[in-house]
């Protein structure tokens, strides 16, 4: 499965949760598949989906899912020790690990070579780290939401992209809509 197929499959699971979605194609795909006011789309700033999600989870009680990529986590690898040492049980980091920089043309990442983000997350001190194959993600993600324990999920999948338009919504509108959903 490629990332857009995974997002399609988990859309009903994440629809009612607060979602912080990674820059580029992941946000564009989620926007096209199931646009919700509970989705925060990143239009720039590669690497910070996990950090924004953690800050949000630590600041209110609703469940927060950060959808990130292997390339983005590698960009901001310092996020994993911060996550491990500041436990928010309403926080799930979902790393869609296709071993490539999808938005820029599928150049390979080190996560698709020798580096295991699962092992890195565990070494950083994250307590609930689950590596899962794409087709098995749904129940694992639902289980993580239900467990109310901070969880890092590394979902291994194929690289590949679909053609789709950029998000033209104004960033202030995205934020306002999202903050209204957070506060409701």
């Amino acid at each position: 499965m490629i990332r857009s197929e995974i997002l399609k499959e988990i859309a009903p699971i994440i629809r009612d949760q607060l979602v912080v979605c990674n820059i580029g194609l992941p946000s564009q795909e989620l926007h096209m598949i199931d646009d919700q006011p509970t989705n925060f789309y990143m239009l720039g700033t590669m690497g910070l989906s996990s950090s924004i999600g953690l800050g949000l989870a630590l600041s209110q009680d609703k469940t927060v899912i950060s959808i990130d990529g292997d390339g983005s986590v590698l960009t901001n690898l310092g996020t994993l020790p911060t996550i491990a040492n500041n436990v928010a049980d309403n926080y799930i980091l979902l790393i869609i690990d296709n071993g490539s920089y999808g938005s820029t043309g599928d150049q390979p990442t080190y996560a698709g070579m020798k580096t295991s983000l699962t092992a890195v997350a565990k070494a950083c001190g994250c307590e609930n780290v689950i590596e899962v194959q794409d087709k098995d993600l749904g129940p694992v993600l639902q289980g993580a939401i239900d467990s109310k324990k901070m969880t890092v999920i590394v979902c291994k999948c194929d690289s590949g992209n679909i053609k789709l338009p950029v998000i033209t919504m104004d960033p202030v509108v995205i934020k306002h809509r999202f903050m209204t959903a957070v506060a409701s």
């Binding site: 950090s51 600041s59 996020t79 911060t82 202030v172 957070v182």
Partner: protein
């Protein structure tokens, strides 16, 4: 006057309850004070752009955030300031240790100091420079200004403000 306590008191009085820090020797006292206060959740970050991500999340979760860092961080965070904090119009007080100014013993610090105000100016970030201890009196008004206008605002605090740089 204890400026560490004054800064922390002003943060608390302005409901700033989520503070991320990347340390600097000059900032050690204020970081310690913040860490000791129950009203503030203190979350150290490993890099300043990561810290700004945390602050963006806290802001959207309804908390008032702040970041404490060195001026070298301006070199690290230009993209995050432009594409996250400014693009989405988020308030962010940035209490910045202004290394490389008068009384600085480390020559390399001057290399970023000479760019600091120019970069902040280029980014159109409102910037205040605390040089004398009495300048801290404006901190409360700067915080109010920041959350009024929903912008990142820089408060540069130099070695003279902090009373010198250690025993140099």
């Amino acid at each position: 006057m204890n400026i560490d306590k004054k800064i922390t008191d002003d943060l608390v009085a302005n409901n700033v309850s989520f503070v991320t820090t990347v340390p600097c020797k000059q900032l050690a006292g204020v970081i310690e004070e913040i860490d000791a206060r129950d009203e503030i959740f203190h979350i150290p970050s490993n890099k300043e752009d990561e810290g700004m991500g945390l602050c963006a999340g806290a802001h959207m979760g309804g908390k008032r955030p702040a970041i404490i860092m060195q001026n070298t961080a301006i070199g690290v965070t230009i993209n995050t300031l432009a594409t996250l904090i400014q693009y989405y119009r988020m308030p962010l007080p940035m209490l910045i240790s202004y290394r490389g100014e008068l009384r600085e013993p480390v020559a390399c610090q001057v290399e970023m100091a000479v760019h600091t105000k120019a970069l902040l100016d280029e980014m159109k970030i409102p910037t205040y420079h605390f040089h004398h201890q009495s300048d801290v009196e404006e901190f409360d008004a700067i915080l109010k200004y920041t959350f009024m206008c929903n912008k990142p605002v820089a408060i540069l605090t130099d070695a003279n403000f902090w009373g010198g740089y250690g025993d140099q």
